[in-house]
Amino acid sequence: MSDKPKPMKFPPKAFQLDPDGENLIDSAHGKSYWRSYDQLANSPEFQTFLENEFPPGTMDLPNKLSRKKFLSLMGASIALAGLTACRRPVEKIIPYVNAPEEIIPGVSKNYASTMPFGTNALGIVVETHEGRPTKIEGNPLHSSSMGSANAFMQASILNLYDPDRSQAPSRKGYEVRWEDFTAFWNEQLTAFDAVAGEGLSLLSSAFASPTLFRLKTEFLSKFPKATWTVFDPVSDERIYQGIELASRQKLQPVHHFESAAIVLSLDSDFLFLDSNNVANSRRFSQARRIMSEKDSMNRLYAVESGFTVTGAMADHRLKVPSAQIMNFTIELAKELQNLGIPVEVDLPTSSLTVGRDHITWIKALAVDLATHKSKSIVLAGYRQPAEVHALVFAINDALRNNGKTITCYHPEHTANSSVTEYQKLVDDLGKGSVKTLVILGGNPAYTANENGEFLKGLNRVEHTIHFTDRENETAQNCEWHLPVSHFMESWGDAVSFDGTLSVIQPMIAPLFDSHSLTEIYSLLSTGELTPGFDLVQSTWREKLISGNFEQVWHHVLHDGVFSGSNYQAVRPALKNKNIFTKSEISEQNLPGLECVFIPSSSLWDGEFSNNSWLMENPDPVTKVAWDNVAVMSHSTAAKYHLKNKEIAKFTADGKSISCPVWILPGQADSTVTFSLGYGRTASGRIGNKVGVNAYKFKPLDSDIRQGVRVTGTGRFQIIACTQDHHGLDADKLAADAIHKRLPAILREASLDEYRLNPGFVKEVVEEPDLFSLWKDKSYDKGFQWGMSVDLNVCTGCNACSIACQSENNIPVVGKDQVERGREMAWIRLDRYFSGDLEDPEMVFQPIACQHCEMAPCEQVCPVTATVHTDEGLNAMVYNRCVGTRYCANNCPYKVRRYNFYNFTKDLPEIVKIAQNPDVTVRFRGVMEKCTFCVQRINQEKLRAKNNHQDLKDGDIVTACQQTCPTDAIVFGNINDPDSRISKLKKQNRDYALLGELNVRPRTTYMAKIRNQNSALNKNHFEKHIQ
């Protein structure tokens, strides 16, 4: 946002009680308070705890809960001391004892930091108020976030304030102190010193961090016989294996979509769920965005089994069961060889029979690739076996993409997940050869407990020690449970795919009695707790920074990245011709269904399962929230006589799972897609007992299970879906209406059509000449805010709606309310299908308040609670609203959200802290909606005015715009002809949704263009369905 990221030498004290934050732990009353929340809710400790420790506002009356109070004098708290005064309750102002220079109460500060995600590092900028992180944004200087953030990054702030995180260490369920553990561990160390670590096993999640890597190596050098296994349920292991198989090198590929004209995605969701998706989206959109019919744009081919966000973006999508992607790739390679592209691999014979016209499809695709040598990308998803990745590497090599559009790096400081090693560990556990097992993060009991072997083994281990943020399924089966700090409470460092180094700096002192992974790693080898800050600094001082350390370090902290630290790109050659061991790949049409397991778009692998924002965030494709479903195609459902929402029983290899069916067009026939991460039992108040645990059915070493039988149970489950897909029900009436309207609602053409007729957008609906019966108010002076959404690059990834939720304190309402159509999202992503029912195209349209100049909602409000400002904002004044809901009825876009209940009433105190102090928290019975982030507008205007500057275009950035990974949303002053927004609105693709109503929305959309291969072209104005 406004002020540049600032460096931060020490974690700001969230608890100002104690200037030299030694006994933070005691002062936090962590244990007593959180253990027995209810009893203590009104106890004196609790009061003082809140007054002194927590920023104010947490003590407000539930129905008038207001984050603004956070801003109250000196950023200290207000406690309602009851109605002692006759006229109004006495409020206390509690200033600091001595104030930290850094913090000006009420003025937010931004700090650069890093969010470690698997083996990647995502650069972030964190907005803090009085040392309290409230909002995460992408760091523009960082190569893997490039200023954007995805839903997970946005929502990770809520994990910090998760009341279900464990508050203190425990042993066998009894609460203990860290000192107890260090004592215990030192005994262990001495014991294992003798045997060089024999019988000591460590299991950690994958990571990419110089310091952690250093500590790991130190540990292993200290205990050579100890084993250190790295495992994650969702990992890119096979990608690395594949590349290694082909090039004999361990490499990390990074794709430069910005310079690729043709992209072929083989079962890969690189825009949404596969690794590095933020950078991928940003780069992809750069080659996708067009400013006029003269520009050229990239072309995306997607081959996949289930509909993904990537598939929705594709210009040509072919649905192929995941297990047959290999056959497809081989076919493609052969076709390329026929075209004289030297794919130097001995290809086994194979056959493929999917789709109606896949032969022509492959031919056309091959030609396209062949004609775009070194300007194309072929990539496969992590679910595919190593052979596919090896072949893909070979193809890219043959197309001379390697080194051009794809760069590869030797990853350092990185520990990658390995299933085989994990299986070996499980065997060892079973054998009982492991005396002490240390689990560093991760939750194998939930994610990797195939046939219960892991837990069985665990019981045979003498000492089990589990470091994690909460008492999860694994922790419950371990002797020791030790809380790990959230990354925003810890010092650390991380390295991104391309080797960019960055530091993780804490925004707040640990809220509970926990320690950072860095500290824990060093504790394991040294036996004592060293401050994370020192550990990280020593790593950087010794290994990374040469020259003036202090200066560089300062810059690294300030910018959030160590500029110029990225790896040298290597230029690997194809070293291995016979990738395929088998000489014949049979057409893998096993009887029964193919089940594909993907990480949940909301909960990832389960890590975010207690995150209410994500939980309520509907899946972009199915639009289902608060559940995971078995997605299958119409004909598959019909074949097995399954109905939508019917609970079906899937069985294979003696395993079975019962999951509600969700019928979705575009799913490859006889394939079913399950989302992982649901069905947790020890996640917390949000995540427990939601959905089905698909890990129970997933093979440990694969994400695909074949030969699955399914039977309907006749029982149905209530599914909270934010967008009914009428067209699919027998409701022909609705279906017809929708495909009549869709071309006008979501305007779309192929690139050729667009070039043929640049003005097509205006011709879709014939608008009557729009005039009004009165003299219109003129908005020609001062700032006139407007927004433009480029549907051509919007992927529908939901990041905007989570960013909005975080910025605007939007409440979570729960499954029941969502199911009753009362979700509160200010910006929602409408999803439509077009084309035929079995093989449709999918399109997304983000819809927030359109800020109509002639807003129908304003006209009808009896109490002037919603009026128009001179800057063209449709102002919603919560505190004036009586709640007639007339405005919502009269809104043609249905973007107004109503507080049917007091949704923030039952929010745990600690969660309230996550809320934005600059935005009123709405009370019961009032309407709310998108405000164009008016708080940001006001702040920026004030800042400019106070500094006697003019407001520049781009100074004001709305939350959705800021986070959008494809930069699809642009906001600005339409009154300034040179502003980006007014340039966009001048484009011929620009159109107003429902413009024919003459409401004159300030938000306009830019039509979607699909760059279709003329060889495979489809007419775009054909039958639409939703």
Partner: protein, 481 residues
């Protein structure tokens, strides 16, 4: 104010039997009543002992009233979330009930005012409790918009009261027009009703036995002495009130209809609404009067005053307005088709064949098809049939409002936000409860006030006319007493 100019002439020497030809047959009051007998019969009801039946009915409706109190209490405590409302459908049963009750509230003033202006003497037998019904119906109507808002406690913001925020209501909002129209309608109806009551209360005062009654009725009757120097102002004042209420009664439901007509929701946004709503209001209003009249005349043996002939006349009006409503339904379809507007077209096709088709066809059969039975004189004059039919009409008219509101809102412009609306137990209990409120008030009225205007009845007895032939030969008059 052109009304005033022609008033004196008319009021002075209007021939008694000016009544429109269709009503000439059959005397207005049967059973050869005299002034005294009229008084005895009607005032008798109030003075006589309380019938058991009354207690039964009263306790029943009071218990319903308790249901209302309960549901409203819970509503205010919990929030509007307890109702079935959702995002596309912001208005549900509450507003349906509001429009329904306002509609019913039309008959009373219409009968008293409009028929009075047209000098329809037959109104005298039914206008009193029709007016009472109006007032109680409007009370029920006012209840719903009040409780359906999210924050009842700031409802006073609807009224232009100077305040420290220096904020004012938005006079452009149809909802505000509504507030004014309905509350004013309520006030005027109340005045109208009371003015009409004064002479009869005087009667009760003069006949009162106990001191308490003497005092209460005494105060209420304001010392009415039946002096002609009262009557002359009284008659004119009453006429003026009628003159004022007539445009008012027509405007109220037109204003209510603007809530829908001025908005842009497909299926609401139609110019036909005002006349169509008014017709519907009269339709339902008369149906309700019919229902109550039949109950009342049975319960208190008022057959002589509320003759079958009165009922038939109402039946005819119901049939006529029913046809108007039916015409409006067909016109809506025609216009939406003729407009060529995709959204409008769909709105109505969706009404008839979409998820709310069931409600739509209930509406059609109750409001259009069933009233056609009134073509036959036989059914028209059969009290039982009339009673059943009138109830059907009431049901039908409730569904009309439900169809208009629910079906239009549930599927408007963007298919992405379409959603189905279904009520919860609390919606239902509130509706039932409102009937409790209505009947409680109505029963109290029947018990403590003359349900038929004695003064007016006497006024239309033949012997009330000093120029009547019976007074030409002496003696006849004496017989008549």
């Amino acid at each position: 104010m052109s009304l005033l100019n022609h008033i004196p002439k008319q009021s002075a020497d209007a021939p008694l039997d000016i009544a429109v030809p269709m009503f000439e047959d059959a005397p207005l009051i049967s059973g050869n009543q005299s002034f005294a007998s009229v008084t005895n019969r009607i005032a008798g009801v109030v003075e006589g002992p309380t019938p058991k039946m009354w207690w039964v009915l009263f306790s029943f409706s009071v218990s319903l009233l308790m249901v209302l109190v309960g549901s409203v209490g819970f509503l205010v405590w919990e929030g509007t979330g307890i109702w079935g409302l959702n995002n596309p459908v912001g208005w549900g049963w509450a507003i349906v009930n509001f429009v329904f009750w306002v509609g019913i509230g039309h008959a009373g003033t219409l009968i008293s005012a409009v028929l009075h202006l047209f000098r329809q003497k037959w109104r005298t037998s039914i206008n009193r409790f029709a007016e009472a019904m109006t007032i109680f119906a409007v009370i029920c109507a006012l209840l719903f918009p009040t409780i359906h808002v999210g924050r009842v406690w700031v409802l006073y913001w609807f009224f232009p009261i100077p305040n420290q925020m220096s904020m004012w209501p938005n006079f452009r909002s149809p909802l505000l027009w509504d507030v004014f129209a309905v509350s004013i309608y309520f006030t005027v109806s109340l005045l109208f009703w009371y003015v009409g009551l004064v002479p009869d209360i005087a009667t009760l005062r003069d006949r009162a036995k106990t001191r308490a009654k003497k005092i209460i009725y005494g105060i209420l009757s304001l010392g009415w002495r039946g002096a002609n120097r009262h009557w002359r102002h009284y008659e004119l004042g009453y006429l003026i009130l009628a003159g004022l209420s007539t445009p008012l009664v027509l405007s109220v439901h037109s204003v209510v209809s603007t809530d829908f007509a001025t908005s842009i929701v497909p299926g609401w946004h139609t110019t036909i609404f005002p006349p169509y709503f008014v017709a519907g209001a009269i339709f339902s209003g008369f149906a309700m009067v019919m229902t109550l009249a039949i109950i009342a005349r049975k319960a208190f043996h008022m057959e002589d005053f509320i003759t079958i002939n009165h009922l038939e006349k109402m039946a005819k009006i119901i049939m006529v307005t029913g046809l108007m409503v039916g015409y409006a339904y067909s016109m809506e379809f025609f216009i939406s088709w003729y407009s060529g507007n995709e959204f409008e077209k769909f709105a109505f096709i969706n009404r008839a064949f979409g998820p709310y088709a069931w409600a739509y066809w209930i509406m059609i059969s109750c409001n259009v098809i069933i009233p056609q039975m009134f073509w036959s004189k036989k059914l028209r004059t059969n009290v039982a049939v009339l009673f059943v039919l009138s109830i059907f009409v009431n049901i039908g008219m409730w569904f009309e409002r439900f169809v208009i509101i629910a079906s239009s809102l549930s599927r408007d412009y963007l298919p992405s936000s379409w959603d189905y609306y279904s009520p919860t137990i609390w919606d239902i209990s509130t509706l039932i409860g409102s009937f409790g409120l209505f009947f409680t008030l109505f029963l109290l009225f029947l018990r403590f006030l003359p349900m038929i205007s004695m003064a007016e009845i006497k006024g239309v007895l033949p012997q009330a006319n000093p120029h009547h032939t019976m007074y030409d030969k002496p003696g006849v008059a004496h017989q008549s007493r």
